[in-house]
Amino acid sequence: MLCLGLLKLGVALLLVPTCCRAQNTTTQSLQADIVPLGALFTQSTPVTLTKSNTNFNSFVGTLTLSYRARTSQWWGQGAITLKATTDFAPAGGPSIANPPSQGDTFTYTCGGATLGASCSGTQTVSTTAATNVVTIGASACTGGGAPCSSANPNTANVSFTLTDDPNYKTGSYSATLTWTISAS
C-alpha cells in the first residue's frame, strides 16, 4: 500500500516539470514607412539690413537658414524657395513689387549649403514667384554621416542686398519673406 502511494507521488512529481515547460510563440511585424520629408526652422530673428557707410551704398544683411530634409532614392528631389509674402511697408520706402525707381532691387545670393546645392548667381526676391535658394537631389538626408550629411540640422547662408534709392523717404520699413522646403 505504501509502495503504491510512493509510486503515485513519483509519477506526479515527474509530470509537474513536464507541464511547466509548455511554451507559446507568436510573432509581430513592425513596419516603418520612411517617406521623403522637409523641415524648416522658423527664423524668429528678424534680418536687419544695414550699410557700412553714409553714401548711397546698398543695404545688406545675412541670414542663416536651418533645415532638415530626406529625399527618395533614385528619383527624389527637394528644394528650398523664397517668396516675399508681404512687401515693404509702410509706403514711401523700398518696394519689391513697385519700386520707386527702375533700378531698385531686392536681391540675394546663396552659399554654404550643407545639404544640396546653393542657388547660383544673384536672385531677385519677388512677391509673385518663389525663387530658388537650395536644390536637393535624390537620396539626400540630414545627419548621421554618409550617405547622409554630417551636419544636423543643415544650414545655408542667404545674403540680401537692397538698393538705397534717394527716393526712399526716411523711416523704418519691414517685409515678410516666406521660406518653403519641399521633398519628394
Binding site: 517617406v35 522658423t42 548711397f56 538705397d164 534717394p166 526716411t170 517685409a175 521660406w179 521633398a183 519628394s184
Partner: protein, 181 residues
C-alpha cells in the same frame, strides 16, 4: 483561379497606395521679417576733375571757370534739412600769385555764384571763398530727395587778375561738403 481573382484587386490597390505615398511631396514653411531703417543721407561727385580758370582778352579781365557736380540727398520727413558748402582747403601755390587767405590787395578775391537744380536751393548773390570757413553753395529743406540719378549743381568761379601776380601756374584745392539731417 478564384484566389487569383480575389487577390488581384487587392494587389492593384496596394500598388496604387504605394505609388501615391512614393510620389507625395512633403514640405514646410517658415517666415522671416526683413527690416531696414532709411535715414537721411547725402553724397556728391565732382563732374570735372579740375577747373581751369581763364581770362579772355588781353586786358586784365577776371579769370573765370566752372565746377560741376552731381549730388544725391534725402532729408528727414519732419524737421530735416541739409546743405552743400565749400572751403578752400589748400590755397593757391606757389606763392607770388593769387591767394585766398593773403591776397595781394583786398580786392583780389576768389568769388563764386551758384546754380543748383531742384530739390536744392542755390546760394544767393556772389559768395567769397574762404580758407577758414565753409561758405554756402546749396541748401535743402525737410523731406526732400533727389532721384536715383541725382541732381546737378555748378559753381561759377571768378578770380581777380591782379597785375601784381607773377606769371606762372597756380593751383588751389576746394573741398565740397554735403550734409543732410
Amino acid at each position: 483561379m478564384t484566389n487569383v481573382l480575389k487577390t488581384a484587386p487587392l494587389l492593384a490597390l496596394a500598388l496604387l497606395l504605394t505609388a501615391s505615398t512614393a510620389h507625395a511631396q512633403y514640405g514646410d514653411t517658415g517666415t522671416t521679417t526683413v527690416s531696414v531703417t532709411i535715414g537721411p543721407q547725402a553724397g556728391l561727385t565732382i563732374t570735372n576733375s579740375s577747373t581751369p580758370l581763364t581770362a579772355g582778352g588781353s586786358n586784365f579781365n577776371l579769370f573765370s571757370g566752372s565746377t560741376g557736380l552731381t549730388y544725391f540727398v534725402r532729408t528727414t520727413t519732419t524737421g530735416g534739412g541739409g546743405s552743400i558748402t565749400l572751403k578752400v582747403t589748400s590755397d593757391f601755390s606757389p606763392s607770388g600769385g593769387p591767394s585766398v587767405a593773403s591776397p595781394l590787395t583786398p580786392a583780389d578775391a576768389l568769388s563764386y555764384t551758384c546754380i543748383v537744380a531742384s530739390p536744392g536751393t542755390a546760394c544767393t548773390g556772389t559768395q567769397t571763398a574762404s580758407t577758414s570757413s565753409q561758405t554756402n553753395l546749396a541748401s535743402f529743406g525737410t523731406n526732400v530727395h533727389t532721384t536715383s540719378s541725382g541732381s546737378t549743381a555748378s559753381v561759377d568761379w571768378t578770380l581777380a587778375n591782379d597785375p601784381s601776380y607773377r606769371t606762372g601756374t597756380y593751383n588751389a584745392t576746394i573741398t565740397f561738403t554735403i550734409s543732410a539731417s
